[in-house]
């Protein structure tokens, strides 16, 4: 066996603390640009199916960003739930839309100033948070070991070793809420159960 290779492997296996970044910052910029551009396409395409496809690209690039942040679980869930599940349902509905008619439809209705101001406010908030919030956020990557990302999320949500986790209650409430929503949807749409 090649000792060099072996040691490299060992170090790769054992060193969870000093983990090298998954990829260079270029990946970040690439993914972020992709997300922004496709996000822009989502709102500017006249054809809704094109918008939906662009939205899928946005979601996938966000999933890529999660991966870069050593949050593979979140990335996987993003792909399954958003790109795989929700977008399919979106497309399901969109396919029934009369595209020729929707293309001719006016793009912006009279509520556009409200929307614009809301977007502006949100943007200001982001800028403010970015400028002022340096102190709030750690300026470096959180050193969570990638290999135990799933377990860490589990600990957060369900607690560990008999202790209730910090988000257990919120998580359960959210799941209950979703259950109620599902039941409501079923009852509303189904005349005879």
């Amino acid at each position: 066996m090649n000792p060099a290779m072996n040691s490299a492997l060992n170090s790769g296996l054992n060193s969870t603390a000093g983990m090298a970044p998954v990829a260079t910052p270029y990946f970040f910029y690439g993914l972020a640009a992709l997300a922004v551009v496709s996000g822009f396409l989502v709102i500017t395409r006249r054809n809704v199916v094109h918008s939906a496809l662009a939205l899928i690209v946005t979601l996938l690039s966000v999933a890529g960003l999660y991966l870069m942040l050593y949050a593979p679980f979140v990335a996987g869930v993003q792909i399954i739930v958003y790109a795989g599940g929700i977008m399919v349902l979106f497309l399901f509905v969109i396919m029934l839309v009369n595209i020729e008619r929707s293309v001719k439809e006016r793009r912006f209705n009279s509520m556009w100033p409200v929307g614009l101001s809301a977007a502006g406010a949100l943007f200001t908030l982001f800028v403010f948070a970015f400028a002022k919030g340096r102190a709030l956020f750690p300026d470096r990557m959180m050193s969570l070991p990638e290999s135990s990302n799933t377990q860490q999320i589990a600990t957060m949500l369900y607690g560990d070793a008999g202790k209730i986790g910090p988000y257990t209650f919120a998580f359960e409430i959210a799941s209950l809420l979703l259950l109620v929503a599902i039941l409501g949807a079923v009852i509303m749409t189904k005349k005879k159960i």
Binding site: L96, V97, N98, R101, S102
Partner: protein
């Protein structure tokens, strides 16, 4: 109703064949047989056009068994109504008959229900014989019964294979074709043709049976009986098959009679009526067989009825081939067939239902008018009430279960 507008109408005419291009395809109001209104109007300008979808099934479609075109009006996948567009295979058989002598026209009838050509020939020959007031000889009648029943089995086998294929079971098709081949071999040996046999002549049969005919038919009987069981093991208790066919395409006995439906479709609805028993022709009164009937009138019952009919046909053939009398095969008919002036209607139980010939003679060598009462044509009319409220997949199953042959529908 509103004028034809919008994409739906455009779509239909777009898909229509060219000779219908300038016609009023966009007609917005169509009625069904029961008199209920079926409006094909374009939904209003809703943003979501999810209300209804009009799709055009055929004439080039794998499951319409030829060139049948069915315009389906769908709500999602639910069928709200149908309209059959037929005639793509119309060859004007009835007009041809008026321009041919009785003998010359005989081969043409084979081209109507081409999967049961022998039955067609039997009906025609018997009708003309009746008009001539002649009767075929006993031996000819027996040969006719044997060949017609073989043909019934062949027709049902072909139906089973294609019907199962429509529902998604590929394999039965090949099994049935393998076994149908044996029947076609017998036909080929008997009269030289496999499909459009032209097996009978007015007054009897042209050919004496070949040497070993009876043995081969008997061999076939022992060969095919287990094969029918084999088809049944594939399908009868198959859960998916049952789910796909039970309570699908139900037609009540009253509806079936009102719509003139005959054959296995009628019998599956519980009406025990078979022309072979009710008004026996050829030599059928001499054989012992049963009329299988269903109870629910659904696709599954029609399947069971046809499977049972194949077995009954085997019984008839067995009796016939064991007691086939000696004697001439042609009754004495004039060389030039010139029936007296008069009208006659004669019908037989073809594999599809009542196949009737209404012949008007003016005393010349050519029929003055020859009308074919095609079972497929009349049975197809019941498609609409059978598929209402079902899904697209069921339309395919129901088209299959009616057992139409477009050559006969369109003539």
């Amino acid at each position: 109703m509103s004028a034809p507008t919008g994409e739906d109408t455009k779509n239909i005419s777009h898909l229509a064949p060219s000779n219908r291009e300038n016609s009023d395809q966009g007609e917005t109001e169509r009625k069904n047989v029961g008199g209920n209104d079926l409006t094909f109007e374009n939904p209003d300008k809703t943003y979501l056009d999810s209300n209804e979808l009009i799709i055009n099934m055929g004439p080039q479609h794998p499951a319409t068994h030829g060139v049948l075109r069915v315009i389906l009006k769908l709500d999602g996948e639910k069928v709200l109504g149908t309209e059959c567009v037929i005639g793509y295979l119309h060859r004007g058989v009835e007009k041809i008959a008026e321009n041919r002598t009785y003998t010359m026209f005989n081969p043409y009838v084979d081209r109507m229900d081409y999967v049961a050509a022998v039955s067609n020939g039997l009906g025609y020959c018997e009708a003309v014989e009746k008009l001539l007031n002649v009767e075929a000889t006993p031996r000819a009648k027996y040969i006719r019964v044997i060949l017609t029943e073989l043909n019934r089995i062949a027709s049902h086998q072909l139906w089973l294979g294609t019907h199962a294929l429509d529902i998604g079971a590929m394999t039965p098709l090949f099994y049935t074709f393998r076994d149908r081949e044996e029947i076609l071999k017998i036909f080929e040996k008997y009269c030289g043709a496999r499909l459009t046999t032209h097996a009978f002549r007015i007054g009897g049969c042209q050919y004496e049976t070949y040497a070993g005919f009876e043995k081969e038919v008997k061999n076939f009987l022992t060969f095919v009986a287990p094969k029918i069981d084999e088809y049944e093991t594939l399908l009868t208790t198959n859960r998916i098959w049952m789910e796909r066919t039970k309570n699908v395409g139900v037609i009540s006995a009253a509806d079936a009679i009102a719509l003139g439906v005959t054959g296995p479709v009628l019998r599956a609805s519980g009406v025990k009526w078979d022309l072979r028993k009710a008004q026996p022709y050829a030599a059928y009164s001499e054989f012992d067989f049963e009329i299988p009937v269903g109870t629910n009138g659904d696709t599954y019952d029609r399947y069971l009825v046809r499977m049972a009919e194949m077995r009954q046909s085997l019984r008839i053939i067995e009796q016939a081939v064991n007691s086939i009398p000696e004697g001439p095969i042609m009754a004495k008919v004039p060389k030039v067939i010139k029936p007296p002036v008069g009208e006659i209607y004669h019908s037989i139980e073809s594999p599809k239902g009542e196949l009737g010939y209404f012949i008007v003679s003016d005393g010349s060598t050519q029929p003055y008018r020859l009308r074919v009462r095609p079972p497929s044509f009349v049975n197809l009319q019941a498609l609409d009430i059978m598929v209402r409220g079902l899904l697209v997949a069921d339309v395919v199953a129901v088209i299959g279960t009616i057992d139409i042959v477009l050559g006969e529908v369109d003539r």
